[in-house]
C-alpha cells in the first residue's frame, strides 16, 4: 500500500519509554499500553488495508485526564490520534508511528436522560445503539442509525457526522445533537450548546461535527431523542432495470414524499444477500428498492399506496408491502447484512461512499458497469438511494497480486465520477486517509487552504490527527502568508455552484 503519511519523527520515537512513563503519571498506569501485541489491536480502523501500530495507546477515564494528556502532548510536540470504536471506514483513526492513540473506550457512561427536554447526555464511548436502548422503553429513540450501530461510538459518530438508513427523513448526526464538551489540544475544556437549540456565537457544534478528530477531542455529547413513530411499514419493490428503480426514486421525492428510508440494491447485491440471509428478495429483477414510511398510521397507509402507484408507473415488476413487523424487519435484514454478505461472496471487498444527485443514479450505475470490465473486478451496489449516497462494494482478493491496487484505482475513479455528475467524494464515511488525495477533485487550493486555516484556529501546531483529510500539510504560519489569487481549479469546466 502506498499511502504517504507525515514522516515519523525519530526524535519523538526514541523518547517512547519516557513518554509512556509521563502518561502513567496522568492516567491509571494500566491504561497506558506499550506492549507490541496489544498495540496491534489498534493498528487500523474498519479500513483494514492500512495498518500501523501506534507508538503508545492511552485510555483516559475522565475529561480532566484527557485535558492533562493533550496539554502534555502539546507541550512536548507529540501527535495525537483520537479513537472511538475503530469502525471508521476511511482510516480516520489510523495510528501514527510517532503518535499516541487516545482511545475513548473507557468513556462508557450515559450521564443523564432528560425526557421532558427530550435529550440524553452521554460520554463519547457509548455506542450508538446503547443510546436508543436506554430510552426505548419510554417510547423514544436516537434517530441516526449507522449499520455499525452496535459497535460504533457516539463520539465517532460526531467526528464523522455519520448517517444511517433513516437519515433521509430525520437527518444525520449534526442535525441531531444539541451539545458537546470537547478538549482542545492545549488542554482547554470547552462546552458548546447544551439542551437548548443554536448554541450562540459561531456554530462550533456544527463545524466540530464531521471534523474527523482534527479539531478537538470530544468528551461528552448531548443528543436529542425523538418519540418513536406510531407506525412503520415498508415496501419491497423489484425493477427490471436500474433505470426504472432510479426513476421511481426521483418520482417519490418529486411527488412530495420523504420516506423514512429508501434503499436500493442491484442484482449482484440482491443475490449475495439472499444467499446469506434469505430475506425473501426477488431474484429475477435487476434492482430492488426498500421504501419505509413511518408516522401516524393513516398517513403511512396513504403514502404506502401512493408509493406503490408511483413504483408501478416507473415499471416495477414486483411489489410487496410488509404485512407485519416481522416482515418489515425481514426486508431490512437483507439490507443490514449487505456488507457481511459481500464478504461471503468475495475474499475481500472495498466499500465506497460517494453521493450523487438522485437523477444521476442510472447513469452512474451504467458507468460503474463499464469500469468493471476495464478494471477486471466486479461490484455489488448497495445504497441510500433516497439521498443519493452510493456504497459500491468492489469485490477483490487481497491475496492476488495487484488486485488491491486495482480495487483502489477503481474506487478512486468511481468517486471522481460522483464529483463529475455534481455529487461529492464522501456522503458519510469521511475523508480520512482514504479520500485525502482525491480532495483536489472537489476543491481547489484556495478552498483547501481555507479549511486548513480553520484547523489552525483550533490546533496551530497540527498535532491532532495529522495526515488525515488534507492532501498536503501546510504549517499555519505558511497558510497565514499564502495568498492565492484566482488559484487553479481541478475541474475548470464545472460550474462553481
Amino acid at each position: 500500500m502506498t499511502l504517504c503519511m507525515p514522516a515519523a519523527d525519530p526524535a519523538v520515537m526514541v523518547r517512547r519509554a519516557s513518554i509512556a512513563e509521563a502518561l502513567r503519571g496522568l492516567v491509571p498506569p494500566a491504561n497506558v499500553i506499550t506492549e507490541e501485541e496489544t498495540l496491534r489491536a489498534y493498528d487500523s480502523d474498519g479500513l483494514t488495508a492500512y495498518r500501523q501500530p501506534p507508538m503508545i495507546v492511552v485510555l483516559p477515564e475522565t475529561t480532566a485526564q484527557v485535558s492533562a494528556i493533550l496539554k502534555y502532548c502539546a507541550r512536548e510536540g507529540i501527535k495525537v490520534v483520537p479513537r472511538g470504536s475503530g469502525t471508521g471506514l476511511s482510516g480516520g483513526a489510523l495510528p501514527l508511528a510517532d503518535g499516541i492513540t487516545l482511545g475513548l473506550g473507557k468513556f462508557k457512561r450515559i450521564l443523564e436522560i432528560d425526557y421532558p427536554n427530550r435529550c440524553i447526555r452521554a460520554q463519547p464511548g457509548v455506542t450508538n445503539l446503547a443510546l436508543t436502548q436506554a430510552v426505548q422503553h419510554a417510547g423514544f429513540y436516537y434517530a441516526p442509525d449507522p449499520s455499525s450501530q452496535i459497535a460504533c461510538s457516539i463520539g465517532g459518530n460526531v467526528a464523522e457526522n455519520s448517517g444511517g438508513v433513516h437519515c433521509l427523513k430525520y437527518g444525520v448526526t449534526s442535525n441531531n445533537i444539541l451539545g458537546l464538551e470537547a478538549v482542545l489540544i492545549d488542554g482547554t475544556v470547552v462546552t458548546i450548546g447544551g439542551k437548548h437549540l443554536d448554541a450562540g456565537g459561531y456554530d462550533l457544534l456544527g463545524v466540530m461535527t464531521g471534523s474527523e478528530g482534527l479539531l478537538a477531542v470530544i468528551t461528552e455529547v448531548t443528543v436529542r431523542i425523538l418519540p418513536k413513530p406510531t407506525a412503520a411499514k415498508a415496501l419491497l419493490l423489484g425493477f427490471p432495470s436500474n433505470e426504472a428503480a432510479g426513476i421511481c426514486v426521483s418520482a417519490v421525492i418529486a411527488g412530495g414524499i420523504i420516506p423514512a428510508g429508501m434503499e436500493m440494491m442491484d442484482r449482484p447485491a440482491i443475490h449475495a444477500v439472499e444467499n446469506f440471509v434469505h430475506a425473501g428478495y426477488p431474484l429475477d429483477v435487476e434492482a430492488i428498492l426498500i421504501v419505509e414510511l413511518d408516522g401516524p398510521p393513516s398517513e403511512v397507509e396513504e403514502l404506502i399506496a401512493r408509493v406503490a402507484a408511483l413504483a408501478r408507473e416507473a415499471g416495477a415488476c414486483y411489489c410487496r408491502i410488509s404485512a407485519n413487523e416481522a416482515e418489515r424487519l425481514a426486508f431490512w435484514s437483507g439490507r443490514k447484512n449487505a456488507f457481511p454478505a459481500a464478504g461471503r461472496i468475495s475474499p475481500d471487498y472495498y466499500c465506497m461512499d460517494g453521493t450523487i444527485p438522485r437523477g444521476a443514479l442510472a447513469k452512474v450505475l451504467a458507468r460503474i458497469r463499464e469500469m468493471e470490465t476495464r478494471f477486471g473486478l466486479s461490484v455489488a451496489n448497495v445504497f441510500h438511494a433516497g439521498d443519493g449516497n452510493l456504497h459500491p462494494l468492489i469485490l477483490y482478493d487481497a491475496n492476488k497480486p495487484g488486485e488491491l491496487a486495482r480495487a483502489e484505482a477503481f474506487g478512486a475513479e468511481i468517486l471522481k465520477l460522483c464529483v463529475e455528475v455534481g455529487g461529492v467524494l464522501t456522503g458519510e464515511h469521511g475523508v480520512g486517509v482514504e479520500k485525502r488525495d482525491l480532495m483536489p477533485a472537489m476543491f481547489n487550493d484556495i478552498d483547501l487552504a481555507q479549511q486548513q486555516r480553520l484547523k489552525c484556529a483550533f490546533d496551530p501546531e497540527g498535532l491532532l490527527n495529522p495526515g488525515k483529510v488534507f492532501p498536503t500539510l501546510h504549517r499555519c504560519a505558511e497558510l497565514g502568508r499564502m495568498h492565492v489569487h484566482g488559484g487553479k481549479t481541478a475541474f475548470a469546466g464545472l460550474p462553481r455552484f
Partner: protein, 399 residues
C-alpha cells in the same frame, strides 16, 4: 458613506482585496439593526447579486445568489408544492422595514429559523454549499449540492450565524422540501403556565409529529389577530402538518390526549398564526426592545417569570417552550442582567431590536466564556486577518 453595490464575485474579490479598512456587509439591509451598531463605513451591498440560478425540485435543491429575496424563493418553491422547511422568518417589519424584503443571504447569515426549528432544523441545517469571498479577498467554496456530504469541514454551519464577519457569500445551494398539504392547529385555551408546559411536553413526546408548539399569555393573545383569542385567556398552540386524513386523525388523537377547552385553526388560518409567531409580529408595531431567548424547553416558565418581573414587559414562546420572544420597555443594564441570569444555567439571550445606544452598551449577543471567545477570535482571524468584514458586529472584541 459609499455603498458598493456588488455585481459579481470578481467585483467582490476586488472590493475586499483593495479595502484599506473595515467594511459593513449587508444583503438587502432589513436586519441592519441586528447586532452591535455598525459605525459609518463603506458598505458592501449584495442586493444586486440576486436571482435563482437553478431549481431542481426532484433533487430538492435550489441555487441562489445571496441578494435574492426570501419572498421570491418562497413563491417559486410554492409553484412546485415545496418550501424552505426552516421557515425563515421575515423580520423586516420588526425593524420597521417593508415586509418580504429580506434576502436569503441575510436569513442564512443570521441563522434564523421559524416555528419548525425543533423538528426540521434551522438555517444552518438547510445550507448545502456555498461560494464566498473571505476577508483575505479570496474566493472559495465549501459543501456541495447534495444532502449527504462529509467532504471536508462543514463550513456551511460556520457561515450560518456568522453575521457576515468571516466571508461574504456569493452563491448558495439550499435544500428545498415538500410543503405539507394540510395544516391544523390545536389551540388549548386558558391553561396556566404549568399546565401549558405539561401539555407541550406531552404533545412533543407523543408520536403525533407536532411541528409547532407555542404559548401565548393572555395579554398578547389579541396581538395574534384571531377573534376568538381576544377573550383574555392564554393560548397553547400545537401544529400538525401532513396529508388531510393524517392531520385529521392526529388532531382527534391529540385532543383526546390533552383534553380541555380548545379551538382549531385550519390550513390558511394556521399559516397566518404561525407566521405571526415566527415573524415576531406582535412586537413589530411597538417600540420596546426585543429579546430572543433560547433555553432548554422546561426552562421556559422560569424565563416567563423573569420577564414578568420587568415592568411593562411581555413574552410569548415558540419551539415547544424553548424559545422566548420578549419585549421590554427599557432594555437597560438591569433588565439585561435579569434576562441573562435566566440563561446562565444553559441557553442564550440575544437583544435583537433596540436603539443603537443600547445595543452599544448591552452586548446584543450572549457573551461567551473566555475560552470560546478566544477560539472564535482565532477563527475570525483565520478568515479575515485584517478585520475587514463587519468587525465588531457580534462582539466588541471578536467581530
Amino acid at each position: 458613506m459609499t455603498n458598493i453595490s456588488i455585481a459579481s464575485e470578481a467585483h467582490l474579490v476586488e472590493a475586499i482585496a483593495s479595502a484599506t479598512g473595515p467594511l459593513n456587509v449587508e444583503g438587502r439591509g432589513t436586519k441592519r439593526g441586528f447586532g452591535r451598531p455598525a459605525p459609518s463605513r463603506p458598505t458592501l451591498s449584495l442586493a444586486g447579486l440576486a436571482g435563482v440560478t437553478a431549481y431542481e425540485p426532484a433533487e430538492l435543491v435550489l441555487d441562489v445568489k445571496p441578494g435574492t429575496t426570501v419572498a421570491e424563493i418562497t413563491r417559486l418553491l410554492a409553484e412546485r408544492n415545496q418550501e424552505l422547511a426552516f421557515e425563515p422568518p421575515d423580520l423586516g417589519p420588526l425593524f420597521g422595514m417593508a415586509p418580504d424584503s429580506g434576502s436569503i443571504g441575510g436569513a442564512i447569515a443570521c441563522n434564523l429559523a421559524g416555528p419548525r426549528r425543533f423538528k426540521a432544523g434551522g438555517a444552518r441545517d438547510h445550507l448545502l454549499g456555498f461560494s464566498a469571498v473571505s476577508g483575505r479577498g479570496e474566493a472559495f467554496k465549501a459543501g456541495g449540492r447534495v444532502v449527504k456530504n462529509v467532504t471536508g469541514y462543514d463550513l456551511c454551519k460556520l457561515m450560518a450565524g456568522s453575521f457576515g464577519t468571516l466571508a461574504v457569500m456569493t452563491a448558495l445551494s439550499i435544500k428545498a422540501l415538500p410543503a405539507p398539504e394540510k395544516v391544523r392547529t390545536l389551540l388549548l385555551l386558558g391553561l396556566d403556565r404549568t399546565a401549558a408546559w405539561e401539555a407541550m411536553v406531552k404533545a412533543l413526546s407523543s408520536g403525533h409529529e407536532v411541528s409547532g408548539a407555542g404559548f401565548v399569555p393572555a395579554s398578547l393573545a389579541p396581538a395574534f389577530g384571531e377573534e376568538r383569542l381576544s377573550s383574555g385567556v392564554t393560548v397553547t398552540a400545537l401544529r400538525l402538518e401532513g396529508t388531510a386524513r393524517s392531520v385529521a386523525d392526529r388532531m382527534t388523537a391529540l385532543r383526546a390526549l390533552l383534553g380541555g377547552r380548545s379551538e382549531e385553526l385550519h390550513t390558511a388560518n394556521s399559516r397566518t398564526f404561525w407566521k405571526r409567531v415566527g415573524d415576531v409580529q406582535p412586537f413589530a408595531g411597538d417600540n420596546r426592545a426585543v429579546w430572543r431567548i433560547s433555553v432548554p424547553p422546561t426552562r421556559g416558565p422560569d424565563i416567563a417569570e423573569i420577564v414578568e418581573s420587568i415592568p411593562g414587559a411581555d413574552a410569548y414562546f415558540d419551539w415547544g417552550g424553548a424559545l422566548a420572544w420578549a419585549a421590554v420597555p427599557n432594555a437597560d443594564a438591569k433588565s439585561a442582567e435579569a434576562i441573562r441570569t435566566g440563561v446562565a444555567a444553559g441557553g442564550h439571550a440575544t437583544l435583537v431590536r433596540a436603539p443603537d445606544e443600547i445595543r452599544a452598551a448591552v452586548a446584543p449577543f450572549q457573551p461567551l466564556p473566555p475560552s470560546l471567545a478566544a477560539l472564535e477570535l482565532r477563527i475570525k482571524q483565520q478568515f479575515d486577518p485584517r478585520g475587514i468584514l463587519n468587525p465588531g458586529r457580534m462582539w466588541a472584541e471578536t467581530g
